[in-house]
Symmetry: none
């Protein structure tokens, strides 16, 4: 059986450092009706004794929290992934506000898709490798002279917009909402492509490998491919790897 | 001479208990362009050594903070006073969300008025005596099963709505660059649509106008329309505004 449609976005904390901030995140989430928390490689392991007190009663969120090793695994079944950043990171990707993200997340979920809201570690934020797994950048507009939102505050604002969003009657529908390929399908496509390229010497040196592989992932994410298109591309890439047919066979 | 019009609301903390929360309030305010903080009878006096570190660089707000003995004095020169409460206090007073408060505060200040956003002590919240000095209750809509916003989070949300009410619509970086309609074409389409809706009473109040008009713009942006699609929509919208044809003319 297919999994039941997800009614709400999941919140993903990537390499969170302080248990207190995990608790505050749970509190912020639950205030605005979000219950699904995923922790990617929390620095101090899990469970963390500092999380409970900071959750101020949002224990249900902590109890349900899922722990995974990497972001790929966290967002594997999601069709839309919003990555929160504080400043422009120069990624070639749509950039939206919490307000716009809420509208898009509602549309995606209403159409049967699954959505992840991803937040980075307290000090460093998300790495470029993390960002390459997202399809949209989420940035909170702040005072240009003073941008200093902490992790829990960012979660509060994003969750608040999700909760208070009232879907307007769409005059123009996003026909792709809910049809986006699961991230795991994209990850598999990307892995196969990189492996095939690597086997043919595409990545001349170790240094270029990482950057070029990431660029390809970004390219695939930006294309907003449907599941069907991913399957098509797998076929295309696979076919290209075959030896040309001998004209004599024709 | 009359005082110069106030460009932004003041934030009033009534009997705040912890210096840390005063610092967090300053940080939250300054992220969203608010600089005028008034402290009513802070429990531990002022200055408070715990405030600075929690302000995370928003020292300008702390340095300018004014300390007064009572709320009357804090809001004496204000023409609108919003009092933040967590739950319904049974006061016979309008109750607004942060979104509505932001719209009303902008309108008030644009008209030359002065606005205060008032927050109560950490544990108890504002007293009924405090509330009687306000003209409007401000409540953040939260999960009915779990309402647990702390002081700094409430300030963040209220300040955020104030700031983003006026934040310009951010450019959407689009990987379909080159195929999308020129922004001027979208702007013209949007302006015509808003004008047509406005002429038919779609925007019930001044406060909703800006927000809903922006939502429509977001919707149009998200649709990733081509130039041709924009022209098509202009025709569709225009046709809808025509009176139905008299069957006798057919």
């Amino acid at each position: 059986m297919a999994p039941a449609p997800q009614a709400r976005p999941i919140v993903v904390l990537v390499r969170p450092q302080l248990g207190e901030n995990i608790g505050k995140t749970a509190r912020a989430m639950y205030n605005f009706g979000l219950t699904d928390l995923v922790l990617v490689a929390p620095r101090d392991g899990w469970p963390n004794p500092a999380a409970g007190p900071a959750a101020a009663g949002a224990d249900v969120v902590l109890d349900r929290a899922r722990v995974v090793d990497n972001l790929d695994e966290a967002v594997g079944d999601c069709s839309r992934v919003f990555a929160t950043t504080v400043r422009d990171r120069g990624m070639v990707m749509p950039v939206v506000t919490p307000l716009e993200a809420a509208a898009q997340a509602h549309a995606e979920i209403d159409a049967g898709g699954r959505v992840a809201l991803v937040f980075g570690p307290e000090r460093s934020g998300l790495s470029n490798e993390d960002l390459a797994l997202a399809d949209t950048i989420l940035t909170v507009p702040v005072n240009p002279a003073f941008g200093s939102l902490n992790l829990a505050q960012a979660v509060v604002l994003v969750a608040y917009e999700w909760f208070q969003h009232r879907a307007p009657a769409p005059a123009v529908a996003d026909h792709r909402a809910g049809q986006g390929a699961p991230k795991q399908a994209l990850a598999d496509l990307h892995a196969q492509l990189v492996a095939d390229l690597d086997a043919r010497g595409y990545f001349r040196s170790e240094g270029r490998y990482e950057r070029q592989a990431r660029s390809l992932r970004t390219l695939l994410e930006n294309a907003r491919l449907t599941d069907q298109e991913v399957q098509t591309l797998r076929g295309v890439f696979k076919t290209l790897t075959w030896a040309p047919r001998d004209p004599g066979d024709a």
